[in-house]
């Protein structure tokens, strides 16, 4: 069977992690191409529903990354995000969703290397876990055929 290549969606904040990812590129640091980056003004703007939608449309893992505490361009976006993820991650775990498939990190604009490490380690870990079919199968289920 062809080697399973996880599909990872990264929700990142524009001011820190996105700039950090740029730095990773300009510093010629190689990192796994499995990640699709979606840019947000701030981690505070990332709605938890988007993570569910990413899983439903085929993501095997998700990375959410933004500014370190006190670096937020909007002062408190990341603080609000932290409380949201503390609550949301605990709920996902309670529901039996593998929280290793949702990685959270602070990556500043200067931490190009850290961004590469976050992506590479997540890709490797999820390659072990395999595809997240459990979630995707829900979409097709429950519809009576034979209309």
């Amino acid at each position: 069977m062809a080697e399973f290549e996880p599909r990872i969606v990264a929700f990142v904040c524009n001011w820190c992690t996105y700039a950090g990812a740029d730095l990773t590129g300009t510093s010629r640091i190689k990192y796994a191409a499995n990640v699709e980056i979606i840019r947000f003004p701030c981690t505070g703007r990332i709605d938890f529903m988007l993570l569910l939608k990413a899983f439903a449309s085929g993501a095997d893992a998700i990375i959410v990354s933004g500014c370190h505490p006190n670096d937020c361009h909007y002062t408190s976006g990341n603080f609000h995000a932290r409380r949201r993820w503390m609550t949301f991650r605990s709920l996902l775990d309670y529901l039996g969703i593998d929280v290793r498939r949702v990685q959270f990190s602070w990556v500043s604009a200067a931490e190009g290397a850290k961004w590469a490490e976050v992506v590479n380690s997540t890709t490797a870990a999820v390659r072990e876990l395999g595809p997240f079919t459990g979630y995707r199968q829900l979409a097709g289920a429950g519809i009576e055929l034979g209309g």
């Binding site: 529903m49 993820w85 949301f88 709920l91 309670y94 529901l95 039996g96 969703i97």
Partner: protein, 266 residues
């Protein structure tokens, strides 16, 4: 009981309130919410151990608000149901008055502040059996939890009785009714149900007082109160905020502490 009726008659006769929302006998030994607007009608109000339903939902219902200032009766512990809407400026002393009932006696709570003091004398922690119900699932393995919740939630009909019965679900347009984008799938498929119940739980984070009305309202007894109670415990432990504990409580997910502790952000 007689005291409660006397209290209701006085409040209505003096014009202090326009309607008293209370409990009355219903079908087959069940309890039914009652709306008394005429002092003479207060005789049917009653209170006993069956009166668990959370009447605070009516403090926010348009047709009841139109009647004017309302008095809501509830067992003491449930008065947190009145304080949380107050914390979200949905009710105030001008629109609401609470009548407590403790071991059969009516306790007068002229203001929300007095209700707050009275609620402070009672623990808002979940009861032992509620904690056990939460823990029973936490003890399962991840795969067992996933199987358990999928089996339960796939049976959901999306009749939205859980939302209708919850006093904290008062949004004029619920996200479920938004179709641009269609955040929550319309059909009651396993995915549609999971996303609905995750969204409902998250939107009640730090706001659900754990009254259990969503589970009592569910026609097929889905254990959906566990989701909101689980988050309630996380918010209380993580942020020191217990929904319904005060009429000026800050909203957990829109406030923060720079030193909020977590162990999973790299």
């Amino acid at each position: 009981m007689e005291e409660l009726r006397k209290r209701a008659r006085e409040l209505l006769a003096t014009g202090e309130v326009k309607v008293v929302i209370g409990y009355g006998e219903g079908s087959a030994g069940r309890i039914r919410p009652l709306f008394i607007t005429d002092p003479a009608g207060a005789g049917v109000l009653m209170f006993d151990e069956r009166c668990l339903a959370n009447l605070a939902v009516y403090l926010l219902k348009a047709e009841v608000k139109q009647l004017g200032k309302a008095a809501g009766t509830a067992p003491i512990r449930n008065h947190s149901n009145g304080l949380q809407p107050a914390a979200e400026s949905q009710v105030s002393d001008e629109t609401v008055r609470l009548i407590g009932v403790a071991d059969g006696k009516a306790v007068d709570l002229p203001t929300l502040a007095s209700a707050e003091e009275y609620v402070a004398s009672v623990s808002l922690e979940p009861a032992a059996e509620e904690k056990e119900a939460l823990a029973r699932i936490e003890r399962m393995t991840m795969e067992e939890r996933w199987a358990y919740w999928n089996e339960q939630l796939s049976r959901c009909l999306k009749c939205y009785a859980c939302r209708a019965a919850c006093p904290m679900c008062y949004c004029t347009q619920c996200t479920v009714e938004c179709n641009q984008p269609q955040w929550i799938p319309v059909p009651a498929t396993p995915l549609g149900n999971l996303e609905w119940h995750v969204m409902r739980a998250m939107h009640l984070a730090g706001r659900c007082v754990g009254c259990g009305e969503c589970r009592r309202a569910c026609p097929i007894d889905l254990p959906i109160d566990l989701l909101t109670k689980k988050i309630g415990e996380d918010v209380a432990a993580g942020f020191g905020l217990r929904a319904g504990s005060s009429r000026k409580l800050e909203y957990a997910l829109s406030t923060y502490r720079p030193d909020d502790r977590e162990d999973f952000i790299r």
